[in-house]
Symmetry: C2
Subunit: 164 residues, 2 copies
Amino acid sequence: MAGQAQYEELARQLSAVGAVKRDMGRILPPECPAGSAAVLTLLGRHGDMRMSKLAELLAVDMSVTSRHVAHVAARGWIERSPDPADKRSRILRLTPAGLEQLDELSRRTTHLLADRLSDWTDDEVGQLIRLMTRLRDSFGDCRSAPPRPPAPVLEETTRTPAST
Amino acid sequence: MAGQAQYEELARQLSAVGAVKRDMGRILPPECPAGSAAVLTLLGRHGDMRMSKLAELLAVDMSVTSRHVAHVAARGWIERSPDPADKRSRILRLTPAGLEQLDELSRRTTHLLADRLSDWTDDEVGQLIRLMTRLRDSFGDCRSAPPRPPAPVLEETTRTPAST
DNA sequence: TATTGTTATACTCTATAACTATA
DNA sequence: TATAGTTATAGAGTATAACAATA
């Protein structure tokens, strides 16, 4: 359990990390904004999937996903095949051109990060990745989760919450 | 020095942290979007300052800063006084209403983070803060900076922006 | 009736460029 | 001429709501 000052500082850092994201966005290939890059990356990492699954991985509304997907599909980077098991669904799959684009993406981001993080150790980068992943997990699928009331759960609590 | 796989994973996590930021954005007070919250937070933390200084801290273009500042000024949360030393400049300062708003902001974000990060230790939160801060430093003021990380030591002499 | 996906609309954030007023 | 700040405009990302097709 952390203190209020830490929470405020974390909130500030979360806000500030936007600058890093914007910097990364500036080196993206033409016609491939961040939203498209995210689609390609997730398809490359998790393989073929349906729109709903992609929306879940992107952690954005399906309408947003639909838009991004339409963008990359229009450029021939992915294919949308009808799902034989459910005709409402569409299966998304990277095309060879999409794989190339993904490769180019990887090249650019790797190059930028290698430059900016040249004095970071392997372990430090690993720690940041691990903590950011956990942060994401802790927030979970809260896209539609109403402000949860103070958790009544007490399992595995090693410390009592400070105050309330 | 980290490997390509790590860089790709870090890029992915940076993209994914947007979901957390959006979640935080949803609990902001009325009339106070993320941009306004950032202005209030930085003024509260660093004290009175000029537009250009705020733009630097926000890591966005001055035009963007001007917009956010106009928004919070219109709501009476900050004051813009002319700088006696340079009539082109304006000194920004939180008003009592701005302090109240800042307090409300702090309350909300702290509450949300305390809920979501209830199973994080103080040390873990501290590590994440430290690594994110360092990440930001490593990227530096790269809004228009070509690959040139070495940052000359800043001497914070000149003018001190109002230390209370 | 419920679910999958698309589209229309609106809002926030951002950068570039043109503009003003000072320096 | 150069700098501090404002405003207009354009582009990307997102959410909500209305809609179509299928389950």
